[in-house]
Symmetry: C2
Subunit: 390 residues, 2 copies
């Protein structure tokens, strides 16, 4: 019986504790954030996170009871990953929900943006986000995708819908667009306002290796030819496995005029790589903060290759005939946050300029004041969706 | 440009790192587990977790490079929560996926059970798990439930299905049954083997408070009358909000003969509280390791009340007329793990015995060798589902 009290305590563990967001983190009116961690025995605690939190890491101060805290300068609005560094170890905040980023579960905080309600859950009809397991011959594994079906999908069993394939960034996974990005609410709100056409959105996991092979390990110095090898396997998943499964499982409009692909950061790179190679399958293309990597056969890393963007040769000469491209591709959307590092702004902005100069029709949108973070990509999606399938 | 290398490194963060389970934890053939944590500056690291890991906490040993490790005694098969204690702070393992338990994201490890494939993802048709947002008048909030729809649901637009409402335990949430419990695969496998009838399964969040009120904070010493107050609000959510939404949104068979409720631990308590009060709505009832709490008007805590189980008066005299109960309720399923604490075994086993002695038809199943953990509840679900809607 010695476990009795503990067992019942566990059984009926504080219901209030079970509610994320109730705990120690506080956002002040100026958007400064106070982080706290109860760690009486720790010697040093810091907090750090995404660019929108400011420079960081911020050293925390211990009070007499052993609770460490710090208040950051005003943060940029939007979703920011963050973590504690507890005696040298990067750990999640027990008071935060967890979000898959940086290749692992990571804490996150939502800093409200005044007047921005386009990603809020509102009193409008809501679609569903469905966990869809499918077998990939390319990788020899069961894979999980999430599929947004719009409001009314089940009630209109003869209606068919266009499809957007929407990819996360490096270190994230197929949960990112709905958990961090709130894509389902952006869609619900746009559809309710008749600003976007009801559509199906498919969010897959952007990592793939052939059976028996290890996933390619990539960092900033990896030659682009190795990046290409990794993307090629994922291309097989999308083109040979996922699209046929989606067209067989849902009431899609299964033609290129009703199929789009977009992604953020690495997902934007993948989108350009895959969609520009398969213009017979996609008429709408979006790259949100996706670095321009025109020459994936290069033995050089990305930082070098991006500088050599040439609209005539880039992406296997997909843009070489601008008139043909313009008549075939209904939308090429490029964007970046104005507070992103020079590498992204210069590369993406430069490519957008060169494409325009070459006569390639594209949309280029800068998100004002936001970094290489989710607020940039929520805004991108909110701008991108109304332009689809018109 | 100083951020360039770091930014690209972040952008193209190791793809292999993005795959959970690839990291430091190893399960040995004898089911002992080696846990590791890289923490050169830490002074003390322990690992602890669910009962199936053994007594714990286990002190870890630092090697020359600052990596701490320990190998536990052989674990019980199944899913176990675990966590590190890093210089006195409970933290998640960065190498683990996160699972909502203990009121927060928690690490978890899956220890294989030899010969148990009923919860594996198999080469059978798979249902979908849908994220369903609905408005609750009871709580004045948008709530999220997960809804399993069986294979073929979309292909058979005139077929209607029975519905099981299935609840998680204390400290967990609506993700528990699919993430930890693998309920969708148990269903897929049983349905493919024609051992269970295709059905819809609804998994809601077992916490509810009226608008403007705080969630009731409960621990093992909370008087049962306060537990009842909390459960009553959740009862309103299920009966007044969720069931109508499910019947309006999905092709259900919306009558008591095709509606079941079950839950684990706290969810079992809630099931008995709600379903036994609404026998006009539920014909099938399951409580998996759910403590028997017959007298929720009591000012006493659970440990006291459970001892006073009397089939004639318990649950507002729901069992007082055994013949009437037996003709009305198609299934009353009670179960517990043989390795659970005495509190659970004695209370649940005792109630099952008293019910049988009183002439109440019930099924009572003990799970051999498993604790108050998910392996007990996977087995319970696998036993329970084939008995439904026959």
């Amino acid at each position: 019986m010695k476990h009795l009290a503990a067992t019942i305590a566990l059984l009926l563990l504080s219901l209030s504790k079970a509610v994320p967001g109730a705990a120690g983190t506080r956002i002040h009116p100026d958007l400064g954030i106070t982080f706290t961690l109860n760690a009486p025995e720790a010697r040093a605690v810091q907090v750090a996170g995404g660019d929108g939190l400011g420079a960081g890491p911020y050293s925390m101060t211990r009070d007499a009871e052993g609770v460490w805290s710090v208040t950051t300068p005003p943060a940029v609005p939007g979703f920011h990953y963050y973590w504690f560094v507890l005696d040298g170890v990067v750990v999640s905040d027990p008071a935060s929900d967890s979000f898959f980023g940086y290749g692992k579960p990571t804490s996150g905080i939502e800093v409200p943006e005044a007047g921005a309600d386009y990603y809020a859950i509102s009193q409008v009809p809501h679609g569903e986000v469905r966990e869809k397991w499918y077998w990939s011959k390319t990788t020899g594994e069961w894979r999980r995708a999430f599929v947004y079906t719009p409001p009314g999908y089940d009630k209109n069993p003869r209606t068919r819908y266009p499809v957007l394939f929407l990819q996360h960034g490096a270190g994230e996974n197929e949960t990112g667009w709905t958990r961090q990005g709130r894509a389902q609410f952006i869609l619900d709100n746009l559809i309710a306002a008749r600003k976007a056409r009801p559509m199906i959105v498919v969010m897959d996991r952007g990592y793939a290796a052939r059976p028996g092979q290890e996933l390619v390990s990539i960092d900033g110095n990896t030659p682009l030819e190795r990046v290409k090898a990794a993307f090629s396997v994922f291309e097989g998943v999308i083109v040979q496995d996922l699209i046929p499964v989606i067209d067989a499982s849902y009431r899609t409009l299964p033609d290129r005029g009703h199929r789009a692909m977009a992604g953020l950061s690495m997902g934007g790179m993948q989108t350009l790589f895959i969609a520009l190679h398969h213009l017979d399958m996609f008429a709408y293309i979006g790259s949100f903060s996706g670095p321009i990597a025109p020459d994936l056969d290069s033995p050089q890393p990305l930082s070098h290759a991006q500088k050599r963007f040439d609209p005539l040769t880039a992406y296997d000469a997909a843009f070489a005939n601008p008139a043909a491209f313009n008549s075939r591709v209904k939308l090429l959307w490029l964007g970046v946050g104005s507070a992103e590092p020079e590498f992204f702004r210069a590369g993406i902005g430069g490519a957008a300029e060169a494409l325009q100069a070459a006569g390639v029709r594209r949309v280029y949108v800068e998100s004002n004041g936001t970094a290489h973070e989710w607020q940039t990509w929520r805004r991108a999606l909110n701008d991108f969706l109304p332009r689809l399938f018109r």
